[in-house]
């Protein structure tokens, strides 16, 4: 399986804001934030046809999201997951004595994950935080 290394950032999008206010338990929130925006050059390197599910892994965690072409590119080498529970599965929690986790600039590996599912926000957070619940 091919795997590529990218620099991950997160942040707001208008769809993130609208779907969040519409209800984080709704599928629209997953559709808006359970995605990774990748530069077309990186999509090509990975050898996938977007949209396609991918697994994003960092030293801090791993999550399945849907890869799409960057809407605000080009930015080869940089990947973007809208702020929310999906991005937060993999971001760098270190605050380096400032209180602020390092939400932007996490090194990640991305690989195809066609057979895996993008979880809804509640399911995702419950399954990764509750003891005894298998992921």
């Amino acid at each position: 399986m091919p795997k590529i290394k990218l620099n991950l950032i997160s942040g707001r999008t208008i769809q993130q804001g609208v779907s969040m206010e519409g209800g984080k338990e709704k599928p629209a929130y997953r559709e808006a934030c359970g995605i990774i925006e990748m530069d077309p050059a990186d999509v090509k390197r990975l050898g996938i046809w977007v949209p396609a599910n991918v697994r994003v892994t960092s030293p801090y965690g791993s999550v399945v999201v849907k890869a799409i072409n960057a809407t605000m590119g080009p930015h080869p080498g940089v990947a973007f997951i809208p702020m929310g529970p999906w991005a937060n599965q993999v971001v760098d929690p270190n605050t380096y004595s400032t209180g602020m986790p390092t939400f932007k600039g996490t090194p990640v590996e991305v690989e195809p994950a066609e057979m895996e599912k993008v979880l809804g926000s509640i399911e995702l957070v419950q399954s990764t935080t509750r003891k005894g619940v298998v992921k």
Partner: protein, 451 residues
């Protein structure tokens, strides 16, 4: 028949637009239409009328499911969790009114809590920087009326503050800016070609995480000193060009966001941005302002500031106020396991904290006060739904430029639902009783020992 309520404040982002028009049903109970708001603001008002809204508190059961409980039971549980904890974390506050914040702080003092707001994951580094070096700032009205050089650094208002550009920064015609956007120059610094960057006269596509270098290079360029060929992925000619553009204005402003606060360097990036502003004042008038996210995160900083002298992560566990970001800040406390209960109000750490912190919240006794269902409410032991501030209850909020604005009530909350302030008041009263009992029990035990 419906009626139209005018001059309504939008309680979503720090722009705090004050010109919304809301159409409500004749009985004043339901929002039926929203005018003038952006898509996010409109959704916020409309969601208050959602049919599937939770209207009663819910407790988590042993199997992870939730069972409806009364507000009395919810008050009792929340008060006990707080009164019995050694060092509870009381987090959030950014989506509620200053009145509720102040009430919550009374509880925090009594129970020796750490009070932290969402700045801890958004502009906390900014607050550290402005305490270190000060901040030359202004109001959004001054920008509308005077600013002809607008620099957006690491922020994307087209998505995060959708009406900021049309109401204040780029498009409006003001007293000295009669030509609107034609008389203004817009510069955007961002590693992506954002929808804001697409509108700019100049876009500097900085290499991610190299903000400090580029800020320093601009300071060098402004003084006309020599630069290496490329800094932070940008050719020096473009940096000189941008520096000249900034210097040539009559009134400039730097707006900055998460691109600067959340990248490595954190508060030092902002130190440098403030110093750039200071340098620019040698040539023209320049200001700098943080693009604050939640509609009342600024208010939370203000209320904490008046009461304890610090704008976020205030530790009251020793009976006096301590402040040390990195030590008394939410994520550090959670990851290091230094708090033994979590009370969340007006925010959603379950969605917006790194998962390592969320895991800790799920393990601890926890209360989430929120009108919505969120990842936080679904991992907390108790979820208390409340009325929407700015929709169903009025209250004071602070805009991103530190201007207080009174939000308005436009509709009635669902029957029997408490507001944040009412819930906090009831918890406060119960905590007082519990603390008195604890005090009496401790005194009796001491008496026994000495006797």
């Amino acid at each position: 028949m419906t009626k139209l309520v005018t001059d309504v404040i939008c309680p979503f982002c720090g722009t705090l637009c004050d010109d919304l028009e809301i159409e409500v049903s004749d009985d004043g109970k339901k929002v039926t239409g929203v005018y003038n708001a952006c898509a996010i603001g409109a959704e916020k008002f409309l969601h208050s009328a959602a049919a599937d809204r939770v209207t009663r508190p819910r407790m988590q059961q042993a199997d992870g499911s939730y069972k409806e409980v009364s507000y009395d039971e919810a008050v009792e549980y929340a008060a006990r969790v707080l009164a019995n904890a050694k060092k509870p974390l009381m987090y959030g506050w950014s989506s509620t009114s200053c009145e509720a914040q102040s009430k919550g702080h009374e509880i925090a003092e009594l129970v020796g809590a750490v009070v932290d707001n969402t700045a801890t994951v958004c502009h906390g580094s900014t607050l550290i920087a402005l305490q270190d070096v000060g901040i030359p700032s202004c109001t959004l009205g001054e920008i509308k009326n005077r600013a002809d050089r607008i620099l957006f650094w690491g922020c994307n208002p087209a998505h995060a503050h959708p009406r900021h550009m049309s109401r204040y920064s780029i498009f409006p015609r003001g007293f000295f800016t009669g030509k609107g956007h034609k008389g203004r120059k817009m510069i955007v610094v961002d590693p992506r070609v954002t929808d804001t960057a697409k509108l700019a006269d100049v876009h500097l596509q900085v290499e991610q995480g190299r903000d400090y270098e580029l800020l320093s290079a601009l300071r060098v360029a402004i003084r006309g000193n020599k630069l290496p060929d490329v800094v932070a992925g940008i050719r020096k000619e473009r940096i000189y060009e941008a520096a000249d553009l900034l210097k040539s204005g009559r009134f400039g402003i730097i707006f900055f966001g998460m691109g600067v606060t959340q990248s490595l360097g954190k508060n030092h990036n902002i130190d440098e941005a403030i110093m750039l502003t200071k340098d620019l004042n040698d040539y023209t008038k320049f200001s700098i302002m943080a693009m604050r996210g939640h509609y009342n995160v600024t208010g939370s900083g203000e209320v904490l500031g008046w009461q304890y002298g610090y704008p976020f992560c205030v530790d009251l566990s020793r009976g006096f106020a301590r402040y040390n970001p990195g030590e008394t800040s939410s994520n550090d406390l959670l990851v290091r396991g230094e708090v033994d209960a979590v009370f969340v109000i007006g925010s959603d750490p379950g969605a917006h904290f790194p998962i390592s912190s969320v895991r800790k919240i799920a393990e601890l006794p926890s209360v989430a006060v929120d009108p919505h269902i969120t990842p936080t409410t679904e991992i907390s032991k108790l979820h208390v739904p409340v009325a929407f501030v700015g929709v169903e209850v009025a209250g004071c909020c602070y805009r991103m430029d530190n201007v207080p604005i009174e939000s308005r009530k436009v509709v009635e909350p669902p029957e029997g639902m408490l507001t944040d302030e009412e819930f906090l008041e009831r918890v406060l009263q119960r905590v007082k009783e519990l603390k008195a009992e604890q005090g009496a029990a401790a005194a009796a035990a001491k008496g026994k020992v000495t006797a």
